[in-house]
């Protein structure tokens, strides 16, 4: 007699039902769409305007379907689903050129999942950039530069306080990420006392009358950690400004941020917005009696301008910025500051009405050094506005005298999106065009189909009835893999598809082990039913052992790998787990279904 417990049957049927249900949405892939919303404050889009926009979209002669219906009295957003990604881009570009600015036009992926499936949170697998097309960036915080800029501003701060306390120092410099002070012998105690009680960084006094201030390891880690998490927020804001669906901005490792922008093709444009490590500095013009050592010299519209080194506020205190036009029709940027920024601005400007204040645009650039092949980064600082302070400024003010409306809107965008807390470099960049993405899907599916059919044919040829059983298990295995990928909302990549294909080849291994064991036991003159039982029981441990090792390798791959390799590791591990379920439990269940009532089975079709 073949035995099979009831609870196992229940589990199998349960898993199969769940698996099929959650794999189903993959038959309804989302369509590329263009989404149109009104600027947040303006509310819903009225049906008339929606009709007009739809009319406008038909002018492109691109076929699309929209979500407009007769009954609604207004739309949160309008969706135009196009047939492919090229059309989607064309449609977006056309609408952008022809619609008023209060409309926000974004690329989107509109789900096509039937309502009853989305009600139970079932959704199709996410496609990776290599299948969907898009751009990815990996950016790294420049720790060296971050530390030196922080130390510079820290030094400026201490020096100002020391002056106020009338403690003299003879020299101060920043060498190797540490500030070194030196002073006359008679002032050492005073300086030592002051620094001891007022420094929140690591501080020590050296024998040769040098005082050293530096970050300790924890402090450095915190600094970088803070900078990366700040930048993460900023980058998310900037990415949102780009108006694309499902962007991914995540931290990677200690000092990196990975940005994925599906559907984007123009890297240059995306990089301009995301990567600009632009910042603003607001500084006062130097007075005639200012010490030269406390000023910097700039060129501005052909004249030399001296500015105080001291920065009133930087761009990260900017809460909002928008483009406007002044009385004479010139572009301007209206700026609002946060509380702290407002206070500082007020303190610095109230006694300086009539003096000039400059806005300096600080942009980080990279060049190859002349002397060696090393890459070095430097700050390109230029004055973008030099205006007389008309009255004490506070939280709200404006920058006028910008070159063009374009310059104004770009500046406002960057200001709004926030300044990066630390400069970042692009260390990796990749673009996959939509046509390559489509090709990748095609070759992935084709190789899956070919690989699958070859294996299925071989199994039937070699194991007959048992081959068919194993094939059902393999097919179910693919269903389960896609269900689990969908449930985990894991991303499917081309190597991921390769992982699934590989799993098919290896998944039959468990069945091969079982079946060859059964054959062997038959040769040992065991009765067919006993041979089946023995085959399953004895092959079981071997299968678990063999699969566990592959699973361990997959986990190692996942931890050391990035994007594509992780995609492979995910499908491989999911595939191993599901194949153990299907190859051991499901096939045994099927064998039981076929042979359970056969008390005197003489031969097996194996």
């Amino acid at each position: 007699m073949l035995r099979f417990q009831l609870w196992k049957i229940v589990i199998i049927l349960f898993v199969i039902t769940i698996g099929i249900t959650y794999a189903l949405p993959n038959f309804y892939p989302p369509s590329p769409a263009v989404q149109i919303t009104l600027d947040s404050s303006l509310g819903k889009i009225s049906p008339n305007i929606a009709k007009r926009i739809e009319q406008l979209a038909t002018e492109t002669e691109i076929s699309f379907s929209s979500n407009l219906s007769e009954e609604l009295d207004g739309y949160e957003s309008i969706l135009f689903k196009s047939e492919n990604y090229q059309d989607q881009i064309k449609l977006k570009e056309y609408l952008e050129q022809n619609l008023e600015r209060e409309f926000v036009i974004a690329l989107n992926l509109a789900p096509n999942t039937p309502a009853w499936l989305s009600d139970i949170q079932a959704s199709p697998m996410k496609l990776g950039l290599d299948l969907r097309g898009g751009v990815h960036f990996l950016m790294e915080v420049d720790s060296e530069l971050l530390i030196s800029t922080r130390l510079e501003s820290y030094l400026a701060d201490i020096k100002r306080k020391l002056r106020e306390e009338r403690i003299g120092i003879s020299r101060s410099e920043i060498v190797d990420n540490r500030i070194i002070f030196s002073t006359r012998t008679d002032a050492t105690d005073q300086l030592d006392d002051y620094l001891k009680s007022n420094i929140d960084l690591e501080y020590r006094k050296q024998d040769n009358n040098q005082f050293i201030v530096e970050y300790n390891e924890q402090g450095l880690d915190d600094l970088i950690d803070y900078a990366v998490s700040q930048n993460l927020v900023t980058l998310r804001n900037r990415v949102n400004e780009l108006g694309i669906s499902e962007p991914v901005v995540v931290r990677q490792g200690k000092n990196r941020i990975s940005v994925q922008l599906p559907g984007v093709q123009d890297t240059a444009e995306a990089k301009k917005i995301i990567g600009k490590t632009a910042n603003l500095e607001f500084r006062l013009e130097a007075e005639s009696n200012s010490l030269l050592s406390r000023t910097d010299q700039f060129d501005f519209s052909g004249q030399r301008v001296r500015l105080l080194k001291q920065v009133i506020i930087t761009g990260d205190k900017v809460a909002d910025a928008s483009v406007g036009y002044d009385e004479s029709g010139f572009p301007q940027v209206n700026i609002s500051l946060d509380g702290e920024g407002g206070t500082k601005m007020h303190r610095s400007t109230r006694n300086n009405v009539g003096r000039k204040m400059a806005v300096i645009f600080v942009e980080r650039k990279i060049r190859t050094s002349n002397s060696s092949d090393e890459i070095e980064s430097y700050f390109d600082k230029r004055i973008i506005s030099l205006a007389t302070i008309q009255s004490a400024l506070a939280n709200q003010f404006r920058i006028t005298g910008l070159d063009s409306p374009n310059a104004a809107s770009e500046l406002a965008l960057l200001l709004r999106a926030g300044a990066l807390a630390a400069p970042m470099n692009f260390v990796e960049e990749g673009t996959v065009g939509p046509s390559l993405g489509a090709d990748n899907i095609r070759v992935g599916v084709q190789s899956l189909v070919l690989g699958l059919s070859l294996v299925l044919m071989f199994m039937i040829f070699y194991y007959k009835v048992f081959g068919i059983i194993a094939n059902i298990a393999v097919a179910l295995n693919i269903v389960l893999i896609s269900a689990i990928m969908s449930i985990l909302s894991a991303t499917l990549t081309l190597p991921g598809i390769a992982g699934i294909v590989l799993t098919i080849g290896m998944a039959v291994d468990a069945n091969v082990l079982i079946f060859s064991r059964i054959k062997e036991e038959l040769k040992n003159r065991l009765k067919p039913l006993d041979a089946i039982n023995a085959g399953y029981d004895r092959a079981y441990i071997t299968i678990v052992d063999a699969n566990l090792t592959t699973l361990i390798v997959a986990l190692i791959l996942y931890t050391i790998g990035t994007g594509p390799v992780q995609g492979f590791a995910i499908t491989l591990s999911v595939g191993i787990l599901t194949s153990m379920f299907t190859a051991i439990l499901v096939t045994r269940f099927l064998v039981w279904l076929i042979y359970r009532n056969r008390k005197h089975l003489e031969t097996l079709w194996i």
Binding site: I366, E428, G430, Y540
Partner: protein, 294 residues
């Protein structure tokens, strides 16, 4: 098991050849490991590489490569190093001014990333081997672990050697394949080891070469069939998977073939050399697993 000696010499020769090639010729490391810029474009008509070189020459030093990729419309541009991350954008816009094409792919990998990936890759292979060894030591026995480890080193070296000798492009995906080979090869090794253990426990009096031989013969059918089904799907990937997957498939195909061979010859040779005997495999009281024997 007859041609054991021949197999030993063949293995040693292949491993030495691989080490030799890896040392002197090295791997054809892809962009992932070297850093640099890669641009793949599809021209609307047959591309003239000379014209493209001319356009690029105005932007770049001499060290770039332009080649066809698949058809005469597909062009691949490789620029090593690439310290400036805006370079690729500038090149694409320069090309856009002169030609009509569809941008298929554009990658930039910074030099530091390449270096890290190299380190991580090497580390990954070592970690995988070490974990496997510990696993086998725990599940089987020390001699099996040594045997399996030698088989793994053998497999990985030969696969890497093949990539070096034929100078096939080695990128991150291929590295993933090499790691998968470790998993696969071990899979085979474990299945064989499992049977050796079972046979030892069943018939304690036999000669060890005899037991190992018999275990191998019992598992040979299964080993070959599994390798065959895996090779079937891998050939499907090789033929249809496109350029991106091609080298990945080659690595796995080599790995499966070498891995199958090594689980038959390398592991067992080592076990015989180390004089595996039934005391090594006697069930100790502390062991709790059940091998299914009545």
């Amino acid at each position: 098991m007859g041609p054991r000696k021949i197999a030993s010499w063949l293995s040693i020769a292949l491993v030495v050849l691989s080490i030799f090639s890896l040392t002197f010729k090295g791997l054809n490391a892809g962009l992932d490991f070297t850093g640099g810029t890669l641009i793949e474009i599809k021209m609307s008509q047959s591309a003239n590489l000379e014209e493209i070189r001319e356009v690029l020459g105005s932007k770049l030093e001499d060290d770039f490569q332009v080649s066809y990729f698949g058809s005469e419309q597909d062009v691949l541009i490789k620029i090593p190093g690439g310290s400036e991350n805006n370079l690729s954008d500038e090149i694409v816009s320069a090309l856009k001014n002169s030609f009509e094409f569809d941008l298929r792919r554009k990658d930039f990998i910074g030099p530091q990333i390449g270096e890290e990936l190299r380190d991580q890759g090497g580390l990954g292979i070592l970690a995988a081997m070490l974990v496997m060894m510990v696993y086998i030591m725990f599940r089987f026995q020390f001699k099996f672990a040594i045997g399996a480890l030698l088989a793994l080193i053998h497999d990985v070296l030969i696969v890497l050697g093949i990539f070096s000798i034929f100078y096939i492009g080695f990128n991150l995906t291929v590295l993933a394949a090499v790691l998968a080979v470790i998993g696969y090869s071990l899979n085979d090794t474990i299945v064989v080891s499992d049977r050796i253990r079972e046979n030892y426990r069943r018939k304690r009096k036999s000669d060890n070469v005899d037991v190992i031989n018999r275990s191998l013969n019992q598992m040979l059918g299964r080993t070959l069939i599994t390798s065959l089904t895996t090779l079937l799907v891998l050939f499907a990937l090789l033929i249809l998977g496109g350029d991106f997957i091609q080298n990945f498939a080659i690595a796995l195909i080599c790995g499966v073939i070498v891995g199958t061979y090594s689980s038959i010859y390398v592991l067992c040779n080592n076990l015989i050399l180390m004089n595996l005997n039934f005391e090594d495999l006697a069930i100790k009281k502390s062991e709790t697993y059940d091998d299914g024997m009545p």
